[in-house]
């Protein structure tokens, strides 16, 4: 194992280090470092344990219908997380100042979207259960 085997590391790690040092040479360096570290901490130690725990609770409560709860809940929360600035109105001030209009209706649309997901999922569950057990 000579130098050649480690060539990618010897090029790529210094490149990443250079870019990090550049980033930390600009305004808000401490804040950027916080966001970089925060990305790992928030995902690995908060988000993933939180949704795993939520899923465990849901499994116990929903039993055989778990995927009919899990899927609509996950899609609804995914949309909420990704479009949080628009849905929560957090970005409304800056958006209105720039564009002259408001980020309106996002929260209502998210509620309706979530309700529709659960309704479709529930209907599918009923259809499946009826299909499996004609006596009911």
């Amino acid at each position: 194992m000579g130098l050649r085997a480690h060539l990618p590391q010897l090029i790529l790690l210094p490149l990443a280090g250079w870019a990090l040092l550049q980033l930390l040479g600009f305004r808000g360096a401490g804040n950027a470092a916080l966001w970089l570290a925060g990305a790992v901490v928030v995902h690995d130690f908060l988000l993933l344990p939180a949704y795993s725990a939520l899923d465990a609770v849901a499994r116990r409560a929903a039993g055989g219908a778990i995927n009919h709860v899990r899927v609509p809940a996950a899609l609804s929360l995914l949309v909420l997380a990704v479009f949080w600035p628009s849905i929560s109105g957090a970005s409304d001030g800056a958006f209105r100042r720039a564009s002259g209009i408001s980020h309106q209706g996002y929260f209502t649309r998210w509620l309706l979207f979530s309700a529709a997901l659960f309704a479709i999922s529930g209907a599918l569950y009923l259809v499946r259960r009826t299909g499996r057990d004609p006596a009911t």
Binding site: L13, L23, G28, L48, R70, V79, I87, A94, S99, G100
Partner: protein, 378 residues
């Protein structure tokens, strides 16, 4: 030793490697289009660089003007592929989370380097996706400059990703041969179910947003896209500090080349007019195609005594801000328009009245509004 809380039998090297291949394709699209966007701003021309030239990689080239929807395409792919990657990244991280709690955490120098590169990768991936997503929605809960941070973050991310792929190719090859039968009785979700679940998340985000990148009738279908208006205003005159008095009868366009002249809006309208259907495509991923009418930049170069000019410096009435000026290349002068009208009517003030630049395939913010001066250089 591993903790027993991570007990889902769904997790396997095979699952991780398949999710990895999907992510690799998506991230390759995001990375290539991201660096193309950086080049599309032509940072080597005067006043265009936001990341200072001395602290940038020398990766610029003459951005083309054809096809006119080129930047709408690359930036639409960049933003939407980034969104689609989110559920796959979540699934992949879920599949490897037990590794984070393995003991001992470091088993030697090689392993330490591998762990470091994975930490850089997860950190920069989260950073890039989070900053990109909030920036497209006008939320700035950070103190750094988005453009600078997203650019250097992209270099960290790309370096860490390439390293990770090189290190993991042998493991992926091995994993492909290890697709084991799963104990179905213990599972609440099959392997196929997990892929369907992740894909459903990806398609939901795509459908929620892609309409703003496609435009036309698709725009209203994008339920959660930040830009659902038919003809979005990126920045109003008020936000830019451009007042009615500045664009009134006293308005003159300063035209500089070999000669220096100035033209009123009436004089501009008296010149030969050209009409073109061209998109404005924003770095945030939205696009809008309109019918612009105005004077070709090549003709204005002739008026300034600089026919065939190779560079144009455009200034706006906007008093402050990095984007109150931009430089265009010779190819962009040849293809571009100083638009005076849109869809058969005078430009609305918020769309750049009295005159704005419209160049095919140019990033949105370089289509300078409220143009006050054009300086041609040969």
């Amino acid at each position: 030793m591993t903790f027993t809380v991570w007990r889902s039998p769904l997790r396997s090297p095979w699952l991780t490697s398949v999710l990895g291949v999907v992510l690799l394709v998506l991230f390759a699209l995001v990375i290539v289009t991201g660096f193309l966007s950086h080049a599309a701003y032509m940072p080597d021309l005067p006043h265009n660089a936001i990341v200072p030239a001395g602290r940038d990689l020398p990766l610029t080239f003459g951005w083309p003007t054809s096809p006119s929807w080129l930047y709408a395409l690359t930036q639409g792919v960049h933003t939407n592929a980034g969104l689609v990657a989110i559920p796959f990244l979540l699934a992949k991280l879920w599949s490897v989370i037990p590794k984070l709690f393995e003991y001992p955490p470091v088993k030697g120098l090689g392993h330490a380097v591998e762990r470091l590169s994975v930490a850089l990768l997860v950190s920069s991936a989260g950073f890039q996706l989070a900053t990109g997503v909030v920036n497209a929605q006008y939320w700035y809960p950070f103190k750094f400059n988005f453009v600078v941070a997203h650019y250097y973050g992209a270099i960290v991310f790309t370096a860490a990703l390439v390293l990770h792929v090189i290190v993991k190719v042998p493991a992926m090859r091995r994993a492909r041969a290890t697709r084991a039968e799963l104990p179905t009785a213990q599972l609440t979700l099959s392997r196929r179910g997990l892929f369907a679940f992740t894909t459903a998340g990806a398609l939901t985000l795509l459908a929620a947003n892609a309409g703003q990148s496609l435009g036309g009738p698709f725009r209203r279908l994008a339920l959660f896209a930040p830009r659902r208006e038919a003809f979005p205003v990126n920045k109003t005159a008020r936000a830019a500090g451009v007042t009615a008095a500045m664009v009134g009868p006293s308005y003159r366009l300063a035209l500089r080349g070999i000669d220096a002249t100035s033209l009123s809006r009436e004089q501009l309208l008296a010149l030969p007019q050209r009409t073109a259907r061209l998109p404005i495509a924003c770095v945030e991923g939205w696009t809008t195609t309109q019918e612009w009418t105005g004077v070709s930049l090549a003709l204005l170069a002739e008026h300034a005594g600089a026919p065939g000019a190779r560079e144009l410096h455009v200034e706006s009435l906007q008093p402050r801000g990095v984007l109150r000026q931009a430089s265009l290349s010779g190819a962009q002068i040849a293809a571009g328009l100083l638009a005076l009208r849109v869809n058969g009517e005078d430009l609305p003030l918020d769309h750049g009245f009295p005159a704005r630049i419209v160049v095919p395939a140019l990033p949105g913010v370089h289509n300078t509004k409220w143009v006050s001066a054009l300086t041609f250089r040969s």
